[in-house]
């Protein structure tokens, strides 16, 4: 479920890297300022706990399947937003480095999608105000489920935005959202249940391990949080809707291939303009139509221009290069040394 490098552009990857790295640096500084040195081993061990917890499943009531903890929300509950964000980022980094679960340039996206929303939106604005002091009540369970669902929906939505803005995948915005949302709703419920049950146990067994929600039971922060979430979703949807009259119809038309050029071009034009303004590699965008045609081509084709690489020379040369690479691979292998 983590984004791969194959589906994003350097512009999108770079932007999200900047956002995540900036937030990471800020969190690191905040943690230093607390002078709580205890956090150093605690964050490391809790990150390992999150990893380990993914080995154990529970039966989802009512279905035949099982689920496990993701960890973003429970980390925020135990450590607070700043330390939690750091731990989530570290877990995602190890997953990317060791398990190839998520790309390295996509890591910035993944850290944002799976770290920012649970730690800085779902936890402070939804879980904390709604859960109440006693973590074993139905109210606390509901708060966990709601917070997890919203956190994951926002994350899934970001995945769609990032993938669409990159322009590598052809999946249209509407279909992608329709694909991701229900799946992540289910995942969110599972996450909420897992989080709630563990928190309930720990809060009963060792109350001081779960920091109590500071402040009153005011619902204002929760409403603010829901408002932010609604704005983000609403803004993106309306922007998308302005380019296409009806999301579902457009998706269907796209699949059938008829309205493709018209609808697609309008969206891509919009995105291209946005990207030109924000990208640091404006030439490496997803506007294949602007790429200069290679020599010997029959001439630029209407969108999408797929001129480069489809000539005989190109294919022959490509095969040659692959052969060279293979030979180099064989030649560079270390000699078998008797150990």
């Amino acid at each position: 479920m983590h984004m791969a490098d194959a589906l994003i552009s350097p512009a999108v990857g770079g932007t999200m890297w900047a956002a995540s790295a900036g937030l990471l640096a800020w969190c690191a500084r905040k943690i230093r300022q607390t002078l709580d040195h205890r956090l150093v081993p605690m964050m490391g061990v809790l990150g390992a706990f999150i990893f380990a917890s993914q080995m154990i499943n529970f039966s989802i009531p009512g279905t035949g399947s099982s689920g496990h903890l993701g960890g973003g929300l429970i980390l925020a509950i135990l450590l607070g937003p700043h330390a939690a964000f750091l731990v989530i980022a570290s877990v995602l980094t190890v997953q990317a480095l060791f398990f190839a679960d998520g790309g390295l340039l996509a890591l910035g996206c993944n850290i944002w999608n799976l770290g920012f929303y649970p730690a800085f939106i779902a936890f402070p604005f939804i879980y904390k105000p709604l859960a109440g002091a006693n973590r074993a009540t139905p109210r606390a369970w509901a708060a966990a489920i709601l917070a997890a669902v919203i956190g994951l929906q926002l994350g899934a939505f970001s995945v769609v935005l990032e993938t669409t803005a990159s322009g590598i995948s052809e999946l249209p915005f509407g279909s992608f959202v329709l694909l991701m949302s229900p799946v992540h709703l289910a995942i969110g419920i599972v996450e909420g249940l897992a989080t709630a049950t563990v928190v309930a146990f720990v809060a009963r067994a060792r109350p001081e391990a779960v920091p109590s929600p500071a402040g009153s039971a005011s619902l204002k922060p929760a409403l603010i949080g829901l408002g932010i979430a609604a704005l983000i979703v609403g803004g993106a949807v309306s922007w998308f809707a302005s380019a296409h009259p009806d999301g579902l119809e457009w998706s269907i038309a796209k699949v059938s291939g008829r309205e493709e050029v018209g609808g697609g071009a309008a969206l891509h034009e919009k995105l291209a303009r946005v990207q030109e303004k924000t990208a640091f590699l404006p030439d490496y965008g997803f506007q294949p139509a602007e790429e200069p045609a290679a020599e010997g081509e029959p001439g630029p084709e209407p969108w999408p221009a797929v001129s480069a690489g489809t000539t005989v020379s190109g294919v022959v040369g490509g095969l040659l290069v692959l052969l060279v690479a293979g030979a180099a691979g064989l030649a560079l292998r270390p000699r078998r040394v008797a150990s």
């Binding site: 081993p41 390992a48 750091l86």
Partner: protein, 266 residues
Amino acid sequence: MAHGGTVQRMDELAALESPAHRLDARAKAVVTFAFLVAVMSFPRHEVVALAPYVLYPVALLSLGGIPARWILKKLLVAAPFALFIGLFNPLLDRQPVALPGGLFVAAGWLSFASILARFALTVSAALALVACTGMDRLCAGLERLGLPRAFAVQLLFLHRYLFVISDEARRMRYGLALRTADGRAPSLRVYGSLLGHLLLRSMDRAQRIYGAMLARGFDGEIRILGTARWTARDALFTTGWLAFFAAARFWNLPEFAGRLLTGELR
């Protein structure tokens, strides 16, 4: 999911001795980053021009003595999501494109092939980086490149205690399995208790580790020995590959090579 096993295998590979392993972590990190940016910056229907990039991961992995079968296995495991999303491309992008030999194919197939190629390239480059460097040297190198110390420390601690906590989790899971009749996963309540115990034990361990750190003078700052030295070989490695990536990005090398070959044949 054998988490500990995967990490352990990677650590074993990273502990090997080879010219690739001896390169400075910073050099490998910078080259990997440039590689990823270059590959990801291609237009989405580009396939053939990506071919030269195969040289880098293959060269590094071979030099490092990393088994090909291991790489392939990891690629297969990581493939599903990208594959799944990529498969929509041929469905949605029906613009016909002429291939050499008179074949016509939907442009979506080209971009799908491109996605597959990107996937294989980016994932193998990332794996090569870690397998030829290891967590320890990588974190130290990244820190010298600007990674915040607190985050590098977090990565190292996480890596260190991953096995320990995973082992405890494995034992708990085994203990549970021994007492479960039908092999089903436990109920929410039992799960909460199981993970709750694991969590409390983990927190207790963190407390003990903190005590051990204090006992040897911990004052909030983790200091490292830092023995990596940048050599001429590292500089050559970095500039050489960066130049190659740039050349392969701006010129269609396969095209050029192919034309040379076919031109000569004619």
